[in-house]
Symmetry: C2
Subunit: 421 residues, 2 copies
């Protein structure tokens, strides 16, 4: 059902432009025990595939992190419940309809997909994970889902890039990441795809990320590694401070690499695996920011000297979520006063008279006062680039964190306001 022409282009309906921060899709390795397929279920009137089906080998371990939005979708509710059992045989991702805020009818559609796939694969229903992304308030049409899943079960395998394009909605480029590690004498590979570019109009936006590895990992340890990675990757990015009702990241480990199964950090190779997983999560998180709505610049906010890492992260997010900081960067304006304001409103311990602010490694203010010999020239040059860093030292303790965001531009307003759904 899939054709190359149908998948290209992937540009935002509001714009043919790909994000200026886009990077080419990387070469992702095949992962033993993982078979992605894409078909066109026709959830939306668009000429492209919109249903991604990933079959997983028996015994695949699964872990997941989900949105904290209390108005979450049925997909998230069911996924959160089923991931606790730790095993997965299939993933189904619907693009074009988020199925959120659709009551019992939406839930029935998800359960139908789970039952259909479980029946065909001969696995428990709870081993089938479903995500949906797209317009809200419209129950996922059961007939289209049923026909789409049926076709997907027998479709030819597709490439990672095809899968990455198919899970996308208003993304302007497909996103993937890879890493590998040695566990004893076995090399394990990780391939991962993600979609998301902020909460997107007119649809309910969503970050959906899927990490696949051939490593043998016990579910509880896989969850431990994913949760830890999530804390300093996906939980440290923001486009517009809005939290989707459907955000989901799932990690699947097929065990086909044949390594001695990892069950704790005491196991040989566990650190390497966790580092590789975190590396992939960080790459994916950055890619989402780089496709942020209207993004022209990628911003890293590094906070040091906080009373704790968690406090540093909250200060960083206060800065990264500040419309005034984000518009200042859009305007290439080293407006450190706005950074001061954002630090102060974070609700975290801070002392104005110990606060230092810098851009691109150049301090503009130290210890609560502008630097007497502050040279704005290198800062100005830095701010003209695509990648901008803001450094904040609170001067209180050893806590540190880095968060990532993008600038706030006319493009964001055009995408979200100029369009009448």
């Amino acid at each position: 059902m899939w054709t190359k022409a149908a998948l290209l282009p992937m540009a935002h309906p509001m714009s043919d432009a790909v994000s200026p921060l886009a990077t080419p899709f990387p070469a992702l390795p095949a992962i033993a025990g993982v078979t992605p397929r894409v078909v066109r279920a026709g959830y939306k009137d668009w000429g492209r595939c919109d249903l991604t089906f990933v079959e997983l080998a028996e015994g695949t371990a699964v872990a997941g992190v989900f949105t904290r939005n209390v108005c979450c979708s049925s997909e998230v509710e069911l996924g959160r419940a089923n991931v606790k059992a730790g095993r997965a045989r299939a993933l189904v991702v619907n693009a074009g309809n988020s199925n959120a805020f659709t009551g019992y009818r939406g839930r029935e559609a998800v359960e139908q997909i789970m039952a259909q796939v479980a029946d065909r694969l001969g696995c428990p229903q709870g081993e089938v994970f479903v995500s949906s992304t797209g317009v809200i308030g419209v129950p996922l049409p059961k007939d289209k889902a049923r026909a789409g899943v049926e076709a997907a079960l027998t479709a030819a395998p597709c490439s990672w890039e095809e899968a990455a394009r198919t899970i996308g909605t208003t993304d302007t480029f497909p996103k993937g990441a890879t890493a590998s590690a040695m566990i004893g004498d076995r090399r394990i590979d990780i391939a991962a795809i993600i979609k998301g570019s902020g909460m997107i109009a007119p649809d309910m936006a969503t970050m959906l990320g899927y990490v696949f590895t051939d490593a043998a990992v016990e579910p509880a340890f896989l969850q431990q590694c994913l949760s830890a990675a999530n804390g300093h990757t996906f939980n440290c990015i923001t486009v517009d401070s809005d939290t989707s009702t459907s955000d989901t990241v799932l990690a699947f480990a097929t065990g086909k690499a044949g390594n001695a199964p990892l069950a704790s950090f005491d196991d040989a190779g566990a650190d390497a695996f966790a580092a590789a997983l975190a590396d992939v999560c960080r790459q994916l998180a950055h890619l989402v920011v780089k496709d942020g709505e209207g993004a022209q610049k990628f911003i890293a906010v590094s906070v040091t000297g906080a009373v704790s890492d968690d406090s540093a992260r909250r200060v960083g997010l206060s800065i990264a979520n500040s419309p005034l900081v984000k518009t200042a960067i859009a305007g290439e304006d080293a407006n450190w006063g706005r950074v001061v304001m954002a630090v102060g409103k974070a609700g975290e311990p801070a002392d104005r008279d110990r606060l230092s602010i810098g851009f691109g490694g150049t301090w503009a203010a130290r210890d609560g006062q502008p630097l007497a010999d502050y040279d704005e020239a290198p800062v100005d040059a830095h701010l003209k680039g695509r990648e901008v860093s803001i450094e904040v030292d609170l001067g209180l303790g050893q806590g540190r964190a880095t968060v990532w965001t993008c600038d706030l531009t006319h493009g964001y307003i055009s995408i979200n306001a100029d369009y009448r759904s």
Copy 2:
């Protein structure tokens, strides 16, 4: 020193346009015991008055509420400390320089003004209240402040409108409010002015509000009334979720009306006074939102059915601060899905399946599902107006709150990003 020509126009430096939500300056009554004057201190290179001096009769009671931003200015620190003693003889407002983030030099400038005025009026230094608003990181020039205050001490009295214009910075129209009440057989009047239109580039923005009344009110009760009013007025507005380092609202009561002094809600007329004060605060708060940067629409978000009033307020602010909700309103798009998202991310108790969302009194979704017979026509018509209401019922309890904000438009981006300070 002041000339009419110097005060007009008051348009934003980025634009000659006055906010489309602007209202004419109301007729404010003179308040016995309150004498406003304006002069040009020349804090900034602009041809207008920039120092407001308000002399207050002996025995005037004062109360205040201040920013919670921990990186607050020296003006805020000193004001917060001195308001506890409850008495005021003068108010000085500097426009064009916020004096924030200026270390000990900034503090010295404030203390100089306090000492100078206290010396001339023969009052304790702690009875002189100072506010500053404008560029940050530049200590308030002591010489200009000294000459300005000196001139102000002998300048002719000015009108409320002149004072309202002089405390303004990037405001696009002057803002005032009035109310009156009967306390026993005495009529008391309230006149109030405010400035602010969001955190403003390239300056550090600020909301500064001043309420003057001839009522006789004990300082502790005045503080009680102001704090209560603040909770459901100034604390219920947001332009861009950013919190100024200098936000200040002060209330002054001269006692010249001759009523029996109010000391508690048990006193006759106390309820009427508190209601009048709250009414003025609500008017002022709305005016700030109506001058929000780039604002094209005034938005009231009413939340009912929350577990508490405080929870309702936090849900309301989550909606009012959501860039996606604000851009949807800018686009006249009844995108209730974004409201659902904002409710869910607020971190407050909510149940997706009991949630109802409406616009302008028309429900779009009830009990977690879109209404089957939802008629978007009246909603579309409502959203085309200047004043928009969003209704959210959480279906959980009796808690309710209303918060006010403006839409997020290209104007906001232009004001904050397109300008290079």
